[in-house]
Symmetry: C3
Subunit: 420 residues, 3 copies
Amino acid sequence: KSLSGYAKSGHGQATMKVNGRIHADMWSFPGSTPGINVIETEDPNTSPVDRVGFRRMRFGVKGDLPYNMLYKIEMEFAGGNDSEFRDAYLGWNELPIFRTLLIGNQKRPYGLDHLNSSRYNVFLERPFVIESFNQDARRFGVCSYGYSEDLAWNWRYGIYNQRLIQDEGNYSSDSFQAQVAGRLANTIWWDQCSDGRGYAHWAVSGTWADTDPLATTNNYAGSGLNEARFRHRPEARSINRWVDTGVIPDGDDYALLGLEGVINVGATQIVSEYQHVWQNRTVLPDVNLHGAYVYWSYFLTGEHMPWDRESGTLDRIYPFENFFLVDRCRGGTGYGLGAWQVALRYSYADFNDQDVFGGIGQSVTAGLNWYWSPYARMQFNYIYGEITDRDADNDESTPQPVNLQSGDYHILGTRLMVDF
Amino acid sequence: KSLSGYAKSGHGQATMKVNGRIHADMWSFPGSTPGINVIETEDPNTSPVDRVGFRRMRFGVKGDLPYNMLYKIEMEFAGGNDSEFRDAYLGWNELPIFRTLLIGNQKRPYGLDHLNSSRYNVFLERPFVIESFNQDARRFGVCSYGYSEDLAWNWRYGIYNQRLIQDEGNYSSDSFQAQVAGRLANTIWWDQCSDGRGYAHWAVSGTWADTDPLATTNNYAGSGLNEARFRHRPEARSINRWVDTGVIPDGDDYALLGLEGVINVGATQIVSEYQHVWQNRTVLPDVNLHGAYVYWSYFLTGEHMPWDRESGTLDRIYPFENFFLVDRCRGGTGYGLGAWQVALRYSYADFNDQDVFGGIGQSVTAGLNWYWSPYARMQFNYIYGEITDRDADNDESTPQPVNLQSGDYHILGTRLMVDF
Amino acid sequence: KSLSGYAKSGHGQATMKVNGRIHADMWSFPGSTPGINVIETEDPNTSPVDRVGFRRMRFGVKGDLPYNMLYKIEMEFAGGNDSEFRDAYLGWNELPIFRTLLIGNQKRPYGLDHLNSSRYNVFLERPFVIESFNQDARRFGVCSYGYSEDLAWNWRYGIYNQRLIQDEGNYSSDSFQAQVAGRLANTIWWDQCSDGRGYAHWAVSGTWADTDPLATTNNYAGSGLNEARFRHRPEARSINRWVDTGVIPDGDDYALLGLEGVINVGATQIVSEYQHVWQNRTVLPDVNLHGAYVYWSYFLTGEHMPWDRESGTLDRIYPFENFFLVDRCRGGTGYGLGAWQVALRYSYADFNDQDVFGGIGQSVTAGLNWYWSPYARMQFNYIYGEITDRDADNDESTPQPVNLQSGDYHILGTRLMVDF
């Protein structure tokens, strides 16, 4: 009776968590050269517009079902009229061989910076190469997740369809455009004494992806376009993509190899990744695309970036002292400082090869993170970058004359976030 | 205090359940003749595309309010950008005469296969006639639900607007296009000893629906189109409708009569329905459309299809043994088989009469259902069907020359589902 | 263990309420003159269409986070495919100086009738001037909320972006189109003996809003249009706006002043507001727009409209006796009457000045409210109004010849609502 007014799951055999997050953003573009303006606005004299609003607004449900089954639906509502789903799957825990096996929309297993939750990532937006080679990360597929008993090793591997369907719900084509993908990770050093304030990680990941070279446009079902396309914004929230290969003509299949390394010593962390894509084509010469990034982060207030050894990803950050600011009853103001972190990232991607001019991007990002609590923080990023030899027309599926553009830019970004 | 972290309803006087479901699908179309290709793709040489993704992804809230009131909102997110609502109503329980009275979006009371939840239905998709005469089932209306004290009889009747508004939110027209509809059901046999492993059911249902013969297109509000239209896919997830009368010209009103019968003896069930529509027209000759289906299902593992005598519909299936597969601590693998069911359906619909060429559909579906638990299962369907004399242009509101197409097809479908 | 089946928040440190509301509507337009028809339908012979469906269908989550933080996401699903967010923010309680500080999508602080929840408002739709000067009320901004210890005073003030983004998620433009806005309210009389059955309130509110005179259309990002635009429907749910200034050409900035007064004596309440907008322009002469309303409401059953002294708004209405109607076990029918309220409103707005012909609207609304419980009610409105000299083409951003229309209309509206 004392529980009247509490919410239940639909039937007594399901556990349920209702969770979500709010990320509110403010972006400004204080400087950009004409080449950048063409890429973003198609007009050399119109510079990218500033932006304020929501980056992420999510809530959803997840839980367990008998026996050993689990489910999750998470909705993204930041687009207003255009709701999208994110994680949306059913599956099992504790299976022989497959361990945790999930079926549905879930992250593809390459790119540490994508596998990290946006709640924990050090920088506002992901690096050129990580996002471009794994745009929006989640795809419909079947994936197995496991880790060794001593937590030194973890792995995930699966088969996916390559179309981003979180806005459409389905993929429709006789060419399945499947990919197999996997990641093997090793926490090679873990400082037991400090409960993980020191650790080192490496991982290797990859995919082999079969794309449909004949699908230069969507089919009658509005689906099926060739998935040989890699693109990203300027590691910030612009309207258009600033590196973009377009749909690579005659793209038959591609292979990706990714390497990751993390070293954490107390408040200091260094992270780096390299990824390479070998794009095979049926007639035209093959194309090579690649990129990398490295970042350093440091907690001025002495905390560290926790590590999840079961998934090989960043974990929730706990400030030594939460931020607060209140009037005390007995007069005066009580306060806590929260945690403060500085960070610097260099990112590089070369998407120009043969007849493909996706652009060569370089970017330096300086970051300042103010953690108010384990569940809330504010982030600041200053970005300076340049794009070289990007074909500003190649984001159309209909071929046009090559129109190479180059330029550089300054961007400022701020984000406030909570999760619950 | 031990309840911190538990979710409450907005005020203490509301009870609340948060429930939902995930249905993930895979469909392939291994064979289809040119006539079918024209119907689906407008090109005799382009066959229907395969499909993978989500069929249903729902969550929502429901509960009670003082005194005797109830509410429900259930959202469908499988469409990605295009969210839709499903059940969305408020109402009362325990009213005199009206018993449970619901106002809002709810299923129209005809077609047992539509009144059954998709969580319990034996086949992946509903039969030609049931879906065509009651497309997507739910409409905005007022409906009364009741049953007799001995559970032998149950009934529902109400008045509805005919427009499908779960994607639009409102119906706007001076012609209300109302319909009255009802269903009277009788569980004529119920084996008390086995607690309902044996039972028989019959029901009669019908509607009288007033449509707007002058509304050949939507009005300035983008609404109001004549609702005299009946259509369905091939009892599978194609892109387009394969039987489709189009908007029947000059359709003034129609009457529908539906008959249902169910016999269940232990693991075996036989179900059949027949429906007939009399479409009246102001000037043109009246049109008769009709169809039926019959299916047989059998649990290889001995369970039975439970029956809900309060609503006259299928109820949740409980396997004798849930499916599970785990490594035992002491070595070896533990497992449970779940429940296994086979089923066969024959379905028929004749939507050709006078100047209406919606097509004549026939379909045989073989099904295999693997119940993992009461809350999860996997379904397989193989479908062979044929469509005869379908006017492949009549799904447009603008009249075009008759273009009759015929053909046959093979379809394979698989679904994984959980509900919570 | 007894709590299995209960829903939790995503982590144990968040409290969570899952709340929502359902508003189901029926509108008819029994009479309108040709001028009104042109405004609504562009055709003097086509009158406004009747309407049935959902006005609001919401659910979402809110709660607290350590320390003193709070969050809220509320989604509006009544649009079917077009989901929108409403309140969506994060913030703090108990800050020095700023008290409660919210960042995100929230109501702008002017217009009592907009600050009142739609769950408590006396009439179905808001008055011309309140809605026109604060269309859909919520904007992305930062706002501080406070009240004095003796509850006599309360205030809110903040800075907002002016674009309505609950359907888009973001505002994108180099012109931020910011506004500062605030409201100071005083409960000048509060009858302690009756715990607030008698009270009086006044408030003054205002904004200064910087608009972008050069943005006559949206920019390449589909955003940034000049926000100097004021419009509303006929205090009912028509398809189009019946008073509408269009984007006021050359609108540089505007100031708004609002005055509110409420007197409540037991079952009787009188409420009035006046608002004036001074629209400044760079070259063209300035424009003055203004309007007001007054309403009287009275509970036939003796209840009163509760008042929230912390926010200066209407609070939840508690009937002396809830409505119910049930068959008693021992025979006969038990019933409760609920609460019954009558109300009358006069509303006026003059949006014609200089070259701006938004129309002059006058409207009388008679209302009858039947409260079933604190959480459910039914509302009836009869509206008679007239629009004078509205430029029926001025809702386009491209200038067209002035086409002045005048007319009058009768509207009937009914709403059923629950909240949970």
